[in-house]
């Protein structure tokens, strides 16, 4: 199997460029297709006057360009531009989500390390941790926030606690699975070097667990943003995206585009967190390509 050595380097570079251009092209196509679908659906439904599933007009389905232009108008008379308001709210929510994410991830991982070393503790606590994944945890968000608020915990921190809560469970379960996934023969090898338990942990189990941990972090990235937004609902926090959503929801019939624009920013925030985790994963974890058809 001779490799054609001389021609590789330049071939690779142009291939990469073509690949990147292709991806950008697909992105534009998808955006254009979505825009087309939206406006097309809108046009067909409003012209024909269909009322199922819901009637289409400027309130229920604003034009995409109206949503976009609303960003560059003041949200209330003589106030700052909507986009400034939303970016500030997004930053506020992002801080809550990030704090919660970090907190939940660290505590979850630490707990997984403890559980990995004690079968007894595993059997005692793991069933509840697993079962809690089937439970609508987010449902207790308002309660937790109100309760912590009455204990004089600053409001934004109670919201971060919700985000931490949503991060904690998947991280614990996946980290545990990851820590236990180390090849037994690799463990035997380390024992043959008279490695201590601590050393085995940090040199073998933790690196082996990384793919699993990141898979949980991807879920947690979204979860912490959702947790932060939902956590802001019951408290009187006006500064975050949750507050903005409630605010604009009240005036929806007058200015529907504001709420839609808020959702676009919230979506962007969620995707940003997700992409950040995926990016970190690419840097930290090297995985073998799958062999599938």
């Amino acid at each position: 199997m001779t490799a054609i050595a001389a021609e590789r380097p330049t071939g690779r570079r142009t291939f990469r460029l073509r690949e990147a251009a292709g991806r950008a092209g697909v992105l534009l196509l998808v955006l254009a297709a979505l825009w087309g679908l939206w406006e097309g659906y809108r046009w067909v439904w409003s012209t024909a006057g269909f009322t199922w599933p819901f009637p289409v007009d400027a309130t229920t389905m604003p034009h995409l360009h109206s949503i976009f232009s609303a960003l560059f108008q003041p949200s209330r008379t003589n106030g700052p531009l909507l986009i400034h308001v939303l970016l500030d709210s997004a930053l506020f929510t992002a801080k809550e989500a990030a704090t919660g994410f970090a907190l939940g991830a660290v505590v979850g991982f630490a707990l997984a390390i403890v559980l990995a070393h004690s079968r007894l503790l595993q059997r005692g606590f793991l069933p509840y941790i697993i079962a809690s994944q089937t439970v609508p945890i987010l449902a207790i968000a308002p309660m937790v926030v109100v309760w912590l608020g009455s204990l004089s915990v600053p409001a934004w921190f109670s919201v971060a606690v919700i985000a931490a809560y949503l991060t904690f469970f998947p991280v614990t379960i996946n980290s545990l699975r990851g820590l236990q996934s180390a090849d037994p023969r690799a463990v035997e090898l380390m024992r043959s070097f008279a490695a201590s338990r601590w050393s085995i942990l940090w040199r073998l189990r933790v690196p082996a667990s990384l793919p699993y941990v990141f898979s949980a972090l991807r879920v947690a990235a979204t979860g912490s943003v959702v947790g932060a937004i939902v956590g802001e609902l019951p408290s009187s926090i006006q500064d975050g995206l949750g507050g903005a959503i409630l605010n604009f929801a009240q005036y929806y019939t007058f200015q529907p585009t504001n709420l839609w624009a808020t959702n676009v920013v919230a979506a962007a925030l969620g995707v940003l967190f997700f992409v950040a985790v995926v990016g970190a994963e690419r840097l930290v974890v090297r995985r073998a390509p799958e062999n599938v058809a």
């Binding site: 059997r123 308002p142 599938v292």
Partner: protein, 273 residues
Amino acid sequence: MSSVAVQPVPRGGMARMVGRRVTDWLPAAIVLVLGLVAWQGVVTVLHVQRFLLPKPTQIASTFWTDRHALWSAGWFTFQEALGGFVIGSGLAIVVALVLARWRPLGSALMPYAIAANAVPIIAFAPITNAWFSPLNKSSKMAIAAVLCFFPVLVNTLRGLTSVRPSSIELMRSYAAGELEIFRRVRIPTALPYIFTSLKVASVLAMIGAIVGEYFGGSIEALGVQIKNSASLFQFEVAWAAIVVACILGIAFYLAVALAERLAMRWQPAQGRE
């Protein structure tokens, strides 16, 4: 020569086997009992205010006295979750089949489906409330449906395209067409992936229904009752409602898990998950 896998009976016979089971769940049972006792004890000893954190016994009694209202609210919300689950998952499976058939389309769109899953869909609840009236179940069904759609789509598509190359070669050696390959190989291979994602979707549907109600909904709904009682500091009612939500969530999940066991009887018994 035969090495057909058989469950070994441990030395010491039946008694040992039963004994082993007990040590499996005993720690968890102990933790549960200790947890409840500690909760009750701490609240009593520290004289924690009732409106801050009620005792388990108080929650239990509220659960009992309000059981009719709570269960009918639970049923209302469950219908929203179930409807959203069926619509979202059904649509996702159909779309996945189409995208698996036309691969270039599927692989181009996959990253977008994954990214869409990262969007806080729940933030659209006020908008669905505007589409369908907030009192209408459809508003929450829509949220639940969208929440279910993307995870089921991504996982089903992954399952349909994770076939070993030699399986495809085998089918080609039988001169099988694309449709036959789909029917005989890709769909059965995808079943475990589909059921895993359906389990996740069942949880998401419940969350979508309940949390969607936090943005506004009928007073007959569970989520509205949780929110209202929490804001009025009636935490016993709120916790009792949460218990109902948990029970329904677990029951939904177990129902899907049962369907999985029935549909895939050919799987060896899974240790965990």
